[in-house]
Symmetry: C2
Subunit: 321 residues, 2 copies
């Protein structure tokens, strides 16, 4: 096992969006009852991502906190605002260079889309891929690989050497549901089990990783004044992760007229897999749904090595080093 | 038929709560395409209830608009605020005493609870009971009779001589769903058909009205600091209108401990029918669910007469008076 250079923690963030109530409630429960979350000896930092937005039950105050973590934006002193300040504070207090550093970030979200219990990773960092593969091996969770999307950048977990989002739905904003909490708990438990196995050198990943790779997003058809001309077709509502074929219904206007799916250039004749279908918070971003391609990738030994390298630097409480 | 004393309208309000998006979207569609809503010759006033809250996708700005319509509050010049001002404006512009009066108010809401397509009436005004009975006769919609609740008063429709709420769910706040719009449209169409029949003297009501009469509300168990100690039990989620018996699970803590339903004093040993189960906006009101008693009432001829008296004062477009 690699020598531990500094005792580092796993950052568990809930309430990065203030109107996603399930994970923050669970996190408060873990604070009151530490035994409710098996830690496998790992040292955790439990944090409410955006306490000011959480107190107001709003996604954010001025700017989506989970789009504030681009390095240039964090460093740009001409940019200000409560959410961006909070992003800087999180990096300063719990980032990999902090006095009391965290090296892995688990960011817990919920969605109004029927994503089930799902993982989101950003780009193809080997340690992230290993962590996701390990969780998928334990629980079978689907993975949304978000990449190559210039309109959506600056996600929290990207500022830590390893990290992913656990995304659970459908649940309305502002609502706590027992099943959503249970799924979130299972996701976090699996992530910690994988990190602990990587630290102990006992990590065994599946041979294949199934990812849903981001291709692009569709907005609703809109009137010239910006208001929606059509809404999601009822046949597509709650059909996240189900293949959508050319000609399938995708939008409907209030009069019942159906608009069919026309694959974007380069994807003619091929199915896509929608995710984040009708997520409440994405209307303002012009996203009615995102489109992905389902792909099976062989799991690389380099991914495990990358995750083990990170995990070896995590503090191990109560275990001889 | 009674002589028409002044040409009055039917007020159709959408977006009384700014984060309930379905009815306002439908209303904009009716404005663009008047033929999309059969009016039976009735003159409608289509209004966005709280445009400022709607623009911000928030339920309200400072005070729940749908609790602002108590006569004393409207008249209390020491009370102020944007939402209360909007309530006064709605009454001044479209109230029964306005220059261009409305005599019936249909207030269109959505909920995160699994209420389906439902009606809410406030108290036992005969004309409201007739309108609700007529809609129930056409569509079979369940009716929540809200009364005797000192903690929740000042509902919009109470300031008009006749009116009710059409309440559709489950749908998250901030989300438009085709099925929710369709249910809303059906509810409004049925209400207008009943009003037109009452105006023409052809109203035929069913022999019985099934109501779910408000008994009281339950809050979540809470820690001393006010945060929830438990959430709704998963067995009760989405079980609006289904009988709840003594001993049935009602809340669950994050560790999985179940709290069972204990009927309040006076209701020992009897089932109740929950409504507004886990409605997102009611957390702040201390309501995790409301309890009702299902009752079958004989429909009274006096109700029809009361509705006909109101309907006879409505303008009838394109029909000889």
């Amino acid at each position: 096992m690699s020598p531990i250079s500094a005792p580092a923690k796993v950052l568990v963030v809930a309430g990065t969006h203030g109107n996603e109530r399930n994970a923050p409630w669970l996190l408060e429960h873990w604070r009151r009852h530490p035994e409710a979350l098996p830690r496998h000896g790992l040292d955790l930092e439990l944090v409410i991502g955006n306490p000011a937005a959480h107190a107001r039950n709003r996604r954010y105050l001025e700017r989506d906190l989970n789009r504030c973590f681009a390095a240039e934006l964090l460093a740009d002193v001409s940019q200000d605002g409560a959410d961006l300040q909070r992003a800087r504070e999180l990096v300063a207090s719990h980032g990999p260079e902090a006095e009391d550093p965290c090296l892995v970030a688990l960011d817990l979200h919920s969605t109004t889309s029927a994503m089930g219990n799902a993982l989101v990773i950003y780009g193809r960092r080997p340690a992230d891929l290993a962590l996701a593969a390990g969780i998928q091996g334990l629980l079978g969770l689907p993975i949304y690989l978000h990449e190559a999307d210039a309109a959506q950048t600056g996600f929290l977990v990207e500022r830590w050497p390893c990290g992913l989002v656990i995304e659970v739905g459908p649940v309305p904003q502002g609502v706590i549901q027992a099943q959503i909490c249970r799924q979130t708990q299972l996701g976090v438990e699996a992530a910690l089990a994988v990190l602990a196995a990587a630290q102990r050198g006992t990590l065994r990943l599946p041979a294949e990783l199934v990812v849903h790779r981001h291709l692009g997003s569709l907005d609703l058809p809109r009137h010239p004044d910006g208001t929606p001309k059509a809404c999601l077709h009822p046949a597509l509502q709650h059909r996240d992760w189900q293949p959508l074929h050319p000609g399938d219904p995708v939008f409907a206007d209030p009069g019942g007229t159906t608009l069919s799916f026309e694959p974007p250039p380069g994807l003619e004749g091929q199915p896509v897999w929608p995710v984040f279908v009708n997520e409440a918070a994405y209307g303002e971003k012009g996203i009615a749904l995102s489109l992905t391609r389902r792909e099976c990738w062989p799991v690389s030994a380099a991914w495990s090595a990358a995750l083990s390298a990170v995990a070896s630097k995590l503090a191990q409480r109560g275990t001889p080093l």
